[in-house]
Amino acid sequence: MSAESTKTTGPEPKFPEKHYLNASYGIRSWLLTTDHKRIALLYLASVTFFFFIGGFFAMMIRLHLLTPSGYLLSADTYNRMFTMHGVAMIFFFLIPSIPAVLGNFLIPLMVGAKDLAFPKINLLSWYIYIIGGCFTLYSMVSGGLDTGWTFYTPLSTVYSNSAVAPAVVGIFITGFSSILTGLNFLVTVHTMRAPGMTWFRLPLFVWAHYATSVVMILGTPVIAITLALAAMERLFGLGFFNPAMGGDPILFQHLFWFYSHPAVYIMILPAMGVISELIPTFARKKLFGYHFVAAASLAIAVIGFLVWTHHMFLTGQSTYAALAFSFLTFLVAIPSAVKVFNWTATLFGGSISFDTPMLYAFGFLGLFLIGGLTGLFLGCLGVDMHVHDTYFVVAHFHYIMVGGAVMGYLGGLHFWWPKITGRMYPEWLARIAALVLFVGFNLTFFPQFLLGYLGMPRRYHVYPPEFQVYNVMSTAGASILAVGYLLPMIYLTWAAFYGKVAGNNPWPATGLEWTTASPPPTENFEVTPVVTWEAYDFHSRPELGLDVPGTPSGVVAPAHGHD
């Protein structure tokens, strides 16, 4: 196992004296920072906060559903729980998680820049996120929110008695954070690349974020205007979505899903980017089909915009539109499949280790496979007639978002934790946590597929007794999952202060971010790097200290560079 193996080479690494974490001190130095690395940590703290809020709601939901008659919460409370679970997780955790934390930290490092193109806008986007978050938290404590995270009209605009307006305003505001982050990434990738860093030498993590940013830029404004119109409808009586005035609630769904379906790709594409880093690193082999994987990211971003009404096959949209959108839905499955095949092919002929990030990568592969394939059932018109709006859908998107995006996020956090903090996490504890998460996740969500096909609709606070067995399984799994999430939070925090010093490149990996110190200095690189190698090329990088065939064996350069 390489965790031990890589550490046997070279002298003990030293912790750098000056780095971005100790460049300045005090609360102001964090709240007014324009350093993308510090902003990433601000985001890390805030998305973790929202993750645990959302997780608390999830736990309440699962406990409540232990019995058919639901013993814990009233109907109204339950409805608030699942709504706020969705809102917290989707808008305040999943969408910013990988881009705003890992992307923010890594994109400048990966392209060899000193910072993002617009550092002040980057900080602004964090503040916007926090302001939006405050509005939404206000909604949660002042009466809650019971419309479902989809805010379907006229329930949300006319009939709901809960605090819809502050939540909608909060999400509207947070949308601009997403827009500005995407804008910053796009511009950075275009204009800030180091000499020699051509488009096809970019790590696939950057490609994935490029595609993600395209979605953020083009989709988010539409949800912004949609929610603004819904809020104005609730507050001032505008009527676009109100059937009583001749408006059309289906129009709301069109506008909502025009963003919210591509938003799924905002969540999953960055995770795919992480996996595309992990697999070559821990298989020590160039990613199979680099160009195809990069193109697949863009294809997903583009085709992902053409499939949104597959959420609306049974709203009474026209049969012709349903056919067209179902067809396009099957098309968007193909680039995802191409990625999975390429990742698998990369393993062949590799030199595979089972460090924690790689375990997450394997976990991602399995769970994303199930999540992606079950998408075919839902995109298929004939099956969607039955499983639409049942637990089948719930299981499907949790496999994508939790099994895919969160697994990718955690895998990425473990992989880059040495770079972010300069210290290693406890390897065996981390492997156990990865395993607990995998088991807990499957036990929670696999039974929901069966529930869904049996016909249990989603968002039910009570259910017929014949559905109980699977619900009990699911709740049991959720308890395991909760432990699985607490573990990494605890030991990663511990490792940030007391972990073993990692050195510049502990794995070793090939990306530009691993050529600088861990943690990196404020300006990222002491001298602007010049890139002369292709992505994931272990063979032309003697400084990594690996036994490349053709180089004299036994002469092992230290893996930890020049610190």
Binding site: H190, R193, Q317, S318
Partner: protein, 121 residues
Amino acid sequence: MADHEHAEHAEHIVPPTTYMIIIFTLLCLTLATAAVAYVNLGPLNIVVALAIATTKATLVVLFFMHAKYSPKRTKLVIMAGIFWLAILLFMTLSDYASRVDYRGVRYPMTQNIVLMNSQQS
């Protein structure tokens, strides 16, 4: 750094005479669109109005916003914006346009539904 080929173009300065020609054209088109609105062209009225508006917008983008002299990348960004707007508009409208029951026979069965409501209300 990257994409040097764009960065090295010298800045193109549009002379004021061009701006004057453009603003004159824009004002003429404004009056034209107001005037043509009073002519009954049937369904073509909206087409003409939008065509004139698009012409005006194109002039503004090309000259006032210097897109004509901008790097290819800027043009790509503009085209992407237009393309995605078209996706939003046309794919949504394709649903509405192909609905057999859309608004035309909006309440075909009013009496029956009203019949249903009576007992509870």
